[in-house]
Every structure is written in C-alpha cells, then in structure tokens.
Symmetry: C2
Subunit: 145 residues, 2 copies
DNA sequence: ACCATATAGTCAGACAGCCTGACCAAACAG
DNA sequence: CTGTTTGGTCAGGCTGTCTGACTATATGGT
C-alpha cells in the first residue's frame, strides 16, 4: 500500500476540524477569536495559570504570550489578577465570556465529530481516534493553527 | 463517547507527520527547506506551472508566491523559464536538486507511515486513512505547516 | 486592424505574529 | 542581607503575509 497522500489527508482533516470549530465559535458570537486563542483557553480554563505557564503551554516566548494575553484582556476574554502567593506573578483566568466561548468551541467540536461519526460509523471513528492517539504521542500540539 | 480531545489528537498527529517529514528532508541534505516549500513542490513537480497557478494552489496571493519562488530560485530548487505560448507568463519547474528534495520528502513520509503501520497494524491504519479521507473532503490543504 | 478589457507578474508599503536582548521587581538561598 | 533565580515588561527587528498601484502581453468585439 502506498499511502503517499496520507500526509495531505491528515493535514486536510486537521484543517477541516480546526476550521469547523473556528466557524462554530464565530457563529456563536465570538468573531474576534482565532484558533490559536482556543488553544490558549485550554490552559487558562479552570484555576487559570501564570503568563510563563501559558507561554510554555503555547510553545512561545513569554513576550509573545504577553502580547496575546493583552489582546485577550482587551477583548474581554481574560482577566489578570494578583497571584495569591507570588508577588511577582499575575494570575490569568477566563472571564465568564471566555468560559462561554470555550464552551461554544467544545460544542462545535462535538458537532463536527458527531457528523463524521454518522458518515463513517462509530467503529471506524473509534479506530481513527486510537490511531491518532498513537501518532499524537510524538507530536507536540503546536498552536500552528 | 466523548472524543473531546480528538481535535488535539488530530492536530498533534498531523504535526508529528509534518515534523517527521521535515526532519527527514533536512537529514537528507536540504536544511534550507521548510514544510511550506514541500507543499509548493507538489505543484511544481512534473510539467511545472505558472506563478498564478502556484499561488492558487498555495492559497496565497501572487505577490506572496512571487517572494516564495524568488527564495526557492535563489536556493537552487526552482528554475524560471519563458512560457512556451504566453509571453506574459513564466514557467516554473523544479531543478534536479528540487526533484531530489521532493523524493527525499516522499521517502521520509513513507518511512514514518511504515513505522506507524508496524505499531497499529495495517488494518487499523487502513481504516485511519479512509476516515481521514472523509474528513479531508471538506478541508483545504493549506500550507499552514 | 484597433481599441477595450482581462491576465501574468513586479514593486512598494503596511501589518501581524513571532523572536532576541535588555531590563525591573519580587522571591529565595546561602 | 546579599547574590542569584524567576515573573513579567519594554524596545527593536525579522519574516511572511497582505493590499494597492503599476507594466506588459494577450484576447475579443467591432
């Protein structure tokens, strides 16, 4: 078997996923969010984190992360508050709007997965997810989107 | 089933693929090539194409494509020649070095696919490829890599 | 044959997202 | 209580993309 075009299929599939989620998020009323933001939101969810932790998660410098956070704060998705125990650090957390946007993204993701599941069947999708997990082991999730 | 992290797996898997190919190409002696270049090479292979055709393939403006081609020409991977029938256009083709780099990329792709096939089995990989094809139908292959 | 319009490609300028380097202030370790 | 580490900002630069304006060739209607 050749699988010469598997790289292209994988790329196209992952782009289709990203675009579907992005479109869902926009349609839900958050047109100023881009896919990279969603990746940040994952880390910001729950208890939140500091800037350096976010930068590490995103695989970027703290300077770049700082710019990103400033943007998200200006748009009303992220809040900065003093760190409870470390006077140098800032705690970053999602605002209610940020949480709502995160939920919209999850919903959009579930929707497209469900649609695909109907097309290919639950069994095949399950195999796909398992194989993807194996492949994903050696690949960082970079916010290349 | 949840599949809440399927988007991340897909992204990580596609990044793993891209990085494996990129690493293979570098190791084969083409350190000045980046994944986006490989995507251009696909269109430049064989009879070649014009700048506008390449731009369309890459999903970018002709101005950006022009910059890309200038870079590839300077590095010795692409040749410009007058178009046989259209005096306005330029024919873009791969140099022997460009063809060799393309082959190195194919080889690297096959290698990593073969490795994964050994891990998950031919059957599961086949299902993966089929499902990816379905997903890929609605996603452009953008040179986001 | 001629002119109007469409097309291939270039040049110039701007912007977004990322980087490196230098720096400040709080925390921590001896 | 002083030296080093760590969280974060500011300043400046690079790269890849974009839009807008332009030249030159091709094409089609009269």
């Amino acid at each position: 078997m050749a699988y010469d075009d598997l790289p292209f299929r994988m790329l196209a599939a992952s782009n289709a996923m990203t675009e579907a989620i992005d479109a869902g998020v926009r349609a839900a009323g958050y047109p100023d969010l881009r896919p990279a933001h969603g990746f940040a939101f994952v880390r910001l969810s729950g208890p939140g984190c500091t800037l350096v932790e976010l930068a590490d998660h995103m695989g970027m410098t703290k300077q770049s992360a700082s710019t990103l956070v400033a943007d998200l704060e200006r748009k009303g998705y992220v809040r900065r508050s003093p760190h409870p125990v470390d006077g140098r650090a800032t705690m970053l957390t999602l605002t209610p709007r940020g949480v709502a946007a995160t939920e919209a993204a999850s919903r959009a993701g579930r929707d497209v997965v469900r649609r695909w599941a109907r097309e290919v069947g639950d069994e095949r999708l399950e195999v796909f997810a398992q194989v993807a997990a194996v492949m994903a082991r050696e690949g960082r999730v970079r916010p290349t989107w």
